[in-house]
Every structure is written in structure tokens, then in C-alpha cells.
């Protein structure tokens, strides 16, 4: 078992009082597994992904990674986890606009001290980015930018890739291509993948699918 979550609960404050977003989620992810998280807007799927990736914290419940409890990690501990163990792909790409494509791809791997020139070249080649390496993000199309984000996430050779609607900003054809490339590369690296998506078609291409409704697994 790579990751196990038990009774995760999370609320956000509003003017009318706390609004529960996660109401006791139990979840496990095996090494190399691909898992789709689907649900309506506001069902809590992005919040769940953020919590699993150490971007946010739970109100209650536990999360363990390879048997180690990571729920109580402080900011520095969670930062180390994101840097060394996870690869995170955002819907808005979140590339660094002032760095070239090559520097963006290498960035997280350099933070983690895992950068390898060969590995980066292989990723760029596999994602069709070789010609774009010296360009800046603003010079790329949306599909190309998301490929850079995927390459960045995989360059660190993560155990778990967390993707938050990675094709949400792309047209249908581009989304299909990007997803295919992402799945191939994730399979190559042996990482597990948890992907949040609205699309039932994309979700069906994953090994397993979980549906959230009002903060609970349906």
C-alpha cells in the first residue's frame, strides 16, 4: 500500500459558519495504480487532492505514506514531501513564466537534488518538447504548457503523481493526446497516479474510479 487515508474531514469557514467539504473519506492507493476522482463541482475532489498532496491540511483523520503517518507534518515536512515524493500537475499549469521550458522541466528535480540531463532530455522527447526547450511559457500553446507541467512532475521520479484536472483547459483533441502521453510516462516510471477530472471518458481510462458526492465517496 502506497498511500492510505482514513476518515478525512475538512471544513471551510463561511459567513454562515463552517461548511463541511470532506465528510469522512477513506481511501487507499497502491503503488503503480491509476485512480480517477470524479464528482460535481464543489464535491470536494480538488480539496481531497490538495490534502493528499500536502498542499492543505485536514481537520481530522489520518494519512499514511508507505506506512508512515504524514498527517501531522509541519510546513517544512510537507514541503519536503511535495518536493521529493510527489509530482503535482495543476489545471492552470503553474509554470514559472520567467524560466525557459528546459529550466521549468528541471526545476522540481533540481530542488530535490535529482536532476539528470538524460532524464530531462528523454521526457522532453517523449512529450514532443525538444524544439521548445529554449522558449518561455508564454510562447507556448496551452497543450504545450501542460506537457511542460507533466514533464516537471515526472522529472523528479515521484512515487505518486497528483493531477488536478490536467486537461481542463485544453480542447478535446489536445486533451486526449496529453492524457495519453501522461499515462504512458507514468506507467514507464512506475508511479501511481491520482487524477481529478470531470470527464467520464477520461476517468474510464484510469485503472479505478472513485466518485465524490457532497464530500463523501459514493
Amino acid at each position: 500500500m502506497l498511500l492510505q487515508a482514513h476518515q478525512l474531514k475538512k471544513s471551510f469557514q463561511s459567513v454562515d459558519g463552517p461548511v463541511p467539504v470532506l465528510r469522512g473519506i477513506d481511501l487507499s492507493v497502491d503503488a503503480g495504480e491509476t485512480l480517477a476522482l470524479t464528482g460535481e463541482s464543489g464535491s470536494g475532489k480538488s480539496t481531497l487532492l490538495h490534502i493528499l498532496g500536502g498542499l492543505d491540511v485536514v481537520d481530522s483523520g489520518t494519512i499514511s505514506l508507505e506506512g508512515h503517518d504524514i498527517t501531522g507534518l509541519d510546513d517544512t515536512g510537507r514541503a519536503a514531501l511535495r518536493r521529493d515524493t510527489f509530482g503535482i500537475i495543476f489545471q492552470q499549469f503553474n509554470l514559472i513564466p520567467s524560466l525557459t521550458v528546459a529550466a521549468n522541466i528541471a526545476f522540481q528535480a533540481r530542488l530535490a537534488g535529482k536532476a539528470s540531463t538524460d532524464g530531462l532530455a528523454h521526457l522532453a522527447d517523449a512529450l514532443g518538447l525538444t524544439e521548445q526547450l529554449n522558449k518561455y511559457p508564454e510562447q507556448l500553446s496551452g497543450g504545450q504548457q501542460q506537457r511542460v507541467a507533466i514533464a516537471r512532475a515526472l522529472a523528479v521520479r515521484p512515487k505518486l503523481v497528483l493531477a488536478d484536472e490536467p486537461t481542463g483547459n485544453l480542447d478535446e483533441d489536445t486533451a486526449e493526446q496529453v492524457l495519453a502521453q501522461m499515462l504512458d510516462l507514468v506507467a514507464d516510471t512506475g508511479a501511481a497516479l491520482v487524477m481529478v477530472t470531470h470527464s467520464p471518458t477520461l476517468a474510464n481510462r484510469m485503472g479505478r474510479r472513485l466518485h465524490l458526492r457532497q464530500g463523501q465517496l459514493a
Binding site: 510546513d75 511535495r82 503535482i88 533540481r110
Partner: protein, 798 residues
């Protein structure tokens, strides 16, 4: 991890070189103006400090000859034998290749200060010094003394134009064998020494000028310079604040990504802090060098001003001292810290999952606006309170600071109200859009406009002060230099013969009798005046009894200058003791601009009764034929031409001194306005690229790019005019503080304030021109924005 993080942060500047340039240039300009002024101040202080210390002036009582120019060396010997601790001084001027050099001879064994002023901190070998004729002078002066036949030792601590040597060498060089200029009296004297009057009845004791020494006088001048340096620094820091705010805002998403990818917040903060310190040091370093150049350019004027106004000698050369580097770099880092602290705290508090707000810099939150208005109101209230109840120079400057910063913070609100009015009155759709768009742009331009406001207010304030000073001073010269000619007898013995010669040739002879004394416990120049219609017709009192001149003329009253009135708390009707049982009421108080110490005037006969040994050697002459009187004095009486000064000459000389006084502040004004213009230019340039999303819809709906460019220029002009309109009352308030508060505290007199509408209109014209020039390039860039860039705004992928 650190290298990767730093690389990412630094890449922002690489991709935004204009922003980097603005930041470094802002820091450099701010530091340059600050360190330049400090450099001038430090150099001037070091230079005349050495002279003052050597002379002993202002620190020790002195003995001066009562009736001749010199003291016989025998008098000095008599005093020493009687037990008096006095030191001889020979003071004279030597012509060296057309340059006048002041030769100061002292006796290192008996001078109260010894040789502290020379030797550059190292003890001087007295045996060597006394056995070989030696002169100390700085490098410039030393060159001129080479032909003197004595050993010349270069000493940077000696003031320019001065040479310090032993008494015997000075007597020799100045051809004054056996004669001394004065004797300096040590503060501590043995018990039981006989009274001075018994030993040297022919010498007059002059009290130490403790309240009026050179350092204290020039301090007020330096304080003015420092205040303007600080104001200029504040204008520069506005630029830095704006640039840092923008850069941090643009990097919010980068910071979020860095943290999402695993860089701890603490590390991000440390890296950003280090990055800012590095930039501050670079900007500060450039600024110190620029400051040195500014100081080098200003120093001749500062030197002339100090010498003209206070008689303080300042070297015309500048040394790049290590302390400037350190203070310049420190002020740059501190200024950056002040400018960045808010942005850094925002980053520190920013939640990891906060959505990026790239336009937040342009849309200041209403909460922040309310905070600024509240702070502004508080500062303006503090300024008013200090104006009513504050006392002292420091509080005067605190009031100045509160007034300026409070007004600057209120500016966006004032402009917003004005723009709302414009919007409400707009009848055409383009103008409705224009006013609304200008309001939206206001937060992004606020800092630059605040900088312009401060620079213009400083300009209005200082020009009002200078012009008011000038008007008052010219009136004062007309009053005080009413006589057509002023003549000086060569010796006291010649005085009577001169008066007898002049009597049939002029209408009135007005002797100038004066002595330094103490009135109400303060050092004062007491004058004896032959009261005449010259006084009654030309003198204007600040406050006086209606029969003031009659009272003085009959020896029943005394008139005093404003400085003495303020320092001693003496006003019309108060009694003043003139020594012994002689007590006179103050019957009038007159303005005495430019004079550092107290002054009082009594009738001539009364003066002679009080100081029977004083013989007048200077006379004012009222005549209708000044040219023929001058000719007769030279040809028939044999008076040297140098001893005759005509009124026009004195006025021209006095005015020239005065005009130089404010050359430095004038130069700083121009520089500050230029910095503000630069701030507007950089803000508009930065905004131009960020405003494409706002302008694209207007373009899509039918406004041409050319029209958009024209509207940008119009916008800059309107904002500049509105800012200038706010700057004029602020500048007048600044002038009032300078004239009625700071001037009184620093110089001891209050100046009437005049307003100069034509000068302010000219200044508005300059500000308008600066704003239009600053807006020209951004407007041109906008007018040439490729349609593809405008279309991208509507593309989904962006």
C-alpha cells in the same frame, strides 16, 4: 535547493529588465541625493571644524587692541609674568601669486588648544617644529607657499586658504616684528592674578562666542540641506516601493508554485530578502558614486555660501571617505527594507492555495485606501498640533515630515474625488470611459504621483522661502545701507582728521561705533548711533513704540534686533541693563536678517559714556555727490580706495552672497523634480504593458490605437495638473513651516511670507511638461501595440 530557488527568483528580473532598472535606478537616485548632501555636509564640517579649533574662536575669551591694529609683544610678556595664562596669535593675510592666504601664527606651548588642529591625529614633534621654520597647510595651499623659504608640511586637516605656523614665523612672513594680533585667554587661570586692566589697560577683553560659534551657525544650514536630502531620498523610495510592490505582485504565482513544488516558506522569504539586499547594495553603490559627483558639483557653491554667510572656510576639494560608502549603503538597504516590508509580509502571510491576483497591484483594496486616509488624517492632525504647541527645531522638522507624508497619502483620495467629478460631467461615451479608466489606473500611478506631489511641494516651499527672504533682505539692505558712502579710517588716530575733512563736504556723518558686550546675559554687538533722519526715514520696526527714535535720540531708550529679542525674551517695554546702574527700556525691535548674534543700538553720547575708549573708524556719509566726495577723499585726503565703499557696491556684494546661499537648495529642487518625472515615466511604462487587457475591449469596440495613445497623453497631463494643484497649497504650508517655525528655531528670526503666483504657474508648466514627456514613450508604444497582442486578450488559452 537554494540555487534553484534563487535562479527562479532572479529569472523574474532577467525577464523584466525594465523593472530591475527602475528598482536599481530608484535606489541609486535616492541614495545619490542623500549621500551627496551628506558628503557635502561632512566635508564642510571637517574643513571648517579644523579652522575653528585652531583659532580658538568661539571657545575662549580673547584680548584685542582697543585703539590700534596690533598688540605689542611686551604686553604679552607682561601678562605672562603677572601669571595670566594667555597664548599669542598672529593673524594676517599674505598675497601668494595673487591668492590671499591667511597666515595664523600660534605658540604651541601656550595656545589653549595646542596643535590639536594639525598633525592629522598624530602628535607634532615640537622640538623639530620650533627648531626649523615650518608651516602646515593643505595640499592646495601648500603649493602656493613653496616660495616662502620655510618648510611646508601638507596637512589635510588645515582649512583651505589657511596656513598654520609658529608665532615667530608668522611675524616674519607677515612683516610684523614684535607685534601680535590678539591674545587667547585660557579658561582656567591661576588664583590671585592681577586684574587685566591693571596689567594691560590698552587691551579689550572679548567674551567667548559660545552661543554664536561657527559650528552652531552652519549647523542650521546643514540641517536645511539634510532636510532636502531626506525629502529627495523619500521621493526615490517612493519609486522603489512601487517597483518592489509590482515585482512581488507579479511573482505571487511564482512563489505559490515554488512552495507547491516543495520549497519551504522560510527559505523563499530568506531568498527574497537576500535578493533585495543584493539589489540594495548594487543600487546603493551606484548611488554613492553618483552622490559623490553631485557633491563635487555642489561643493563650490556650498563653500561660497558658507564663507559668505558665516565666514566659515570650506575646502573646495572633495575626498571620497569610507564613511560615505558605509552610510550610503546602509541607507540604501534601510530604504529598501522600509519599501519592501509590506510586500514581504504579504508574501509571508499568503496562503499556499491563494489564487493569484496579477492585477491586485492596480486595484488597491478599499480597506487599504481607508487605512491610508486614516493615517493621512492622523499625520495632518499631528502637524497642526505641532504647529500650535510644538517648540524646537526637531519638532519643526517632525511637523514638516507629518505634513508632507500626510498630504501624500491623501493625494489618491483627492484625485479620485476630482476624477469622479470629471466622470459625472462627461457627456460623450469616450470621455465617460476615459474618466472611469483613469480612476481605475489611479492606484497604479499613486506612488509616482505622490513623488511628484512631494517634489513640487518642496519646490514651491523652497522657492517661496527664498523669494520671501530675498524681498525682505533687499528691503532690509535699503534700510540699513541708506548712506551713499561708507569710509574707514586707516587708524583710530586718523579718525578725527577724517571727520574734520568730511564735515564741509557731506550733509551728515554717521559714525559706526560698536563693541561686543553682554546684554541680558547674551553676547551682543552694541552700537552707538548718531540719530538722524536717515534712521527715521528708512528703518522699519517689527514692533516699536511710536516715539522710538525720539527715545533713543534722547538716551531714554534702546532698540534691539529680533535675534536678541527672541533669545532673551525681551519685548517692547522690557528693561535692559547696560551695566552699572544704567537701565533702559526696549523701545523698538528691528529685523536683522543674516546676522547670527544679538545687536542693540543706543544713542552716540550714551555709548561714548559707556565705552569711552572706543573711537569710531567707520563712517556712513550722506551726500548728494558721492563721486566727488570719493575723489576728494582719495586725491586730497589720501585715503586708499579700498577704504571707501559705495552703497551700491555693498548691496550688490550682500545680494550676491545671498543668491549663492540658495544655489544648493535650488539644485536639489531641480534634481528632486527630475526624480519625480522619472517615477512617472517608469510607472507609465510599466502600466502600459499591463493595461493591454483593459484597453483591448475599447479598441475592439472602435477606438483606434492612435486615439488610445492620445488619451494616454491627455490622462498624464490631467493627473499632473491635478497633482500640481494639490502641490501648491502644500508647498505654501511647507514654506510657512520653514519661515515661521524652522527659520526661527535655526536662525533666530522670523521672515514675512510672500506668495509668487507667476513662479507657481511656471512650476505647474514644468510639471505638465515633465508628465507629458514621461508619458510620450508609453503612449507611443501603446499606439503601436500590434493588433495580435490586443487580440490575445480575447483568446481562451490566456
Amino acid at each position: 535547493m537554494t540555487a534553484a530557488g534563487f535562479h527562479a527568483l532572479w529569472s523574474h528580473w532577467r525577464r523584466n529588465p525594465l523593472q530591475l532598472f527602475t528598482l536599481v535606478a530608484g535606489l541609486a537616485l535616492a541614495t545619490a541625493l542623500w549621500s551627496g548632501v551628506q558628503a557635502v555636509n561632512a566635508e564642510a564640517r571637517a574643513s571648517y571644524g579644523a579652522a575653528a579649533a585652531t583659532l580658538g574662536e568661539g571657545q575662549f575669551d580673547q584680548l584685542l587692541p582697543a585703539q590700534s591694529d596690533t598688540i605689542a609683544q611686551a604686553d604679552y610678556i607682561a601678562l605672562r609674568r603677572a601669571g595670566w595664562q594667555v597664548g599669542p596669535v598672529v593673524d594676517g593675510r599674505l598675497d601668494a601669486d595673487g591668492t590671499q592666504i591667511r597666515i595664523l601664527g600660534i605658540d604651541p606651548l601656550t595656545a589653549p588648544n595646542g596643535f590639536d588642529a594639525v598633525g592629522e591625529g598624530q602628535p607634532v614633534d615640537l622640538v623639530d617644529f620650533l627648531s626649523k621654520p615650518t608651516v602646515f597647510a593643505n595640499a592646495d595651499t601648500a603649493d602656493l607657499l613653496k616660495g616662502l623659504g620655510v618648510r611646508v608640511i601638507e596637512d589635510a586637516g588645515v582649512a583651505s586658504g589657511m596656513a598654520i605656523t609658529d608665532v615667530s614665523v608668522a611675524q616674519d612672513v607677515l612683516s610684523l616684528p614684535g607685534q601680535l594680533s590678539r591674545l587667547v585667554i585660557a579658561n582656567q587661570q591661576p588664583l590671585g592674578v592681577p586684574p587685566l586692566a591693571d596689567v594691560v589697560p590698552n587691551l579689550t577683553r572679548v567674551a567667548a562666542q559660545s552661543g554664536t560659534d561657527v559650528a552652531r551657525l552652519t549647523d542650521s544650514f546643514h540641517l536645511n540641506l539634510t532636510a532636502f536630502g531626506l525629502l529627495s531620498f523619500a521621493v526615490g523610495i517612493f519609486i522603489v516601493h512601487g517597483t518592489i510592490g509590482l515585482a512581488f505582485e507579479q511573482r505571487r504565482s511564482m512563489v505559490r508554485t515554488l512552495r507547491a513544488l516543495g520549497m519551504p516558506l522560510r527559505r523563499v522569504m530568506v531568498l527574497m530578502g537576500v535578493e533585495l539586499i543584493v539589489l540594495a547594495l548594487i543600487g546603493g553603490g551606484v548611488g554613492v558614486v553618483m552622490g559623490y559627483l553631485i557633491a563635487a558639483a555642489l561643493l563650490p557653491d556650498v563653500a561660497a555660501t558658507l564663507k559668505g554667510l558665516y565666514g566659515a572656510d570650506v575646502s573646495g576639494t572633495l575626498q571620497l571617505r569610507p564613511s560615505w560608502w558605509i552610510s550610503g549603503l546602509l541607507i540604501s538597504v534601510a530604504g529598501t527594507g522600509v519599501a519592501a516590508i509590506g510586500s514581504l509580509m504579504q508574501v509571508a502571510r499568503m496562503p499556499l492555495l491563494a489564487s493569484a491576483r496579477p492585477q491586485a497591484w492596480l486595484t488597491a483594496s478599499s480597506a487599504r485606501r481607508i487605512l491610508h486616509v486614516a493615517i493621512s488624517g492622523l499625520l495632518l492632525a499631528v502637524a497642526v498640533a505641532l504647529g500650535v504647541w510644538g517648540k524646537g527645531l526637531v519638532l519643526g522638522f517632525v511637523m514638516l515630515g507629518a505634513l508632507l507624508i500626510g498630504a501624500a497619502l491623501a493625494l489618491p483620495l483627492i484625485l479620485d474625488v476630482a476624477l469622479r467629478l470629471g466622470q459625472a460631467r462627461a457627456r460623450h461615451v469616450i470621455w465617460e470611459w476615459f474618466w472611469a479608466d483613469t480612476r481605475q489606473q489611479l492606484p497604479g500611478l499613486s506612488l509616482a504621483l505622490m513623488a511628484l506631489l512631494l517634489a513640487m511641494a518642496a519646490n514651491v516651499g523652497v522657492s517661496t522661502m527664498v523669494s520671501s527672504f530675498r524681498l525682505t533682505f533687499v528691503g532690509f539692505l535699503d534700510q540699513r545701507l541708506a548712506s551713499e558712502l561708507y569710509v574707514t579710517a586707516q587708524t583710530p588716530a586718523q579718525s578725527e582728521a577724517l571727520q574734520a575733512f568730511l564735515k564741509p563736504q557731506v550733509r551728515v556723518i554717521l559714525p559706526v561705533l560698536s563693541v561686543q558686550t553682554d546684554l541680558a546675559g547674551l553676547p551682543t554687538d552694541l552700537y552707538g548711533a548718531r540719530i538722524d533722519s536717515t534712521h527715521r526715514d528708512n528703518w522699519a520696526f517689527l514692533e516699536a513704540r511710536s516715539d522710538a527714535w525720539d527715545s533713543v535720540d534722547t538716551g531714554r531708550g534702546i532698540i534691539i534686533n529680533e535675534q536678541l529679542a527672541r533669545r532673551a525674551g525681551l519685548w517692547v517695554g522690557d528693561d535692559v541693563s547696560l551695566g552699572g546702574s544704567r537701565i533702559l527700556p526696549v523701545v523698538g525691535i528691528y529685523g536683522d536678517y543674516g546676522n547670527p548674534i544679538g545687536q542693540a543700538i543706543v544713542q552716540e553720547d550714551l555709548f561714548n559714556a559707556l565705552h569711552p575708549n572706543q573711537i569710531p573708524t567707520r563712517f556712513g556719509l550722506r551726500t548728494d555727490t558721492p563721486d566727488s566726495v570719493r575723489k576728494a577723499l582719495i586725491d586730497d585726503f589720501g585715503l586708499p580706495e579700498a577704504n571707501i565703499i559705495d552703497q551700491a557696491g555693498i548691496k550688490a556684494f550682500s545680494l550676491s552672497i545671498f543668491e549663492r546661499t540658495f544655489t544648493v537648495t535650488g539644485a536639489l529642487n531641480v534634481l528632486t523634480l527630475a526624480v519625480a518625472g522619472f517615477a512617472i515615466f517608469m510607472s507609465l511604462l510599466t502600466l502600459a504593458s499591463m493595461r493591454v487587457p483593459q484597453l483591448a475591449p475599447a479598441w475592439a469596440l472602435g477606438l483606434t490605437r492612435r486615439k488610445l495613445g492620445q488619451l494616454e497623453l491627455t490622462r498624464a497631463a490631467i493627473l499632473a495638473v491635478l497633482t500640481a494643484t494639490a502641490a501648491i497649497p502644500l508647498g505654501l504650508a511647507l514654506a510657512w513651516v520653514l519661515l515661521a517655525v524652522v527659520n526661527v528655531e535655526a536662525f533666530g528670526w522670523k521672515l514675512p511670507m510672500y506668495v509668487f503666483p507667476a513662479a507657481y504657474a511656471k512650476l505647474c508648466g514644468f510639471a505638465l511638461l515633465a508628465a507629458i514627456v514621461a508619458a510620450l514613450w508609453p503612449a507611443l508604444r501603446l499606439a503601436r501595440t500590434p493588433p495580435t497582442d490586443l487580440l490575445k486578450v480575447f483568446a481562451n488559452e490566456r
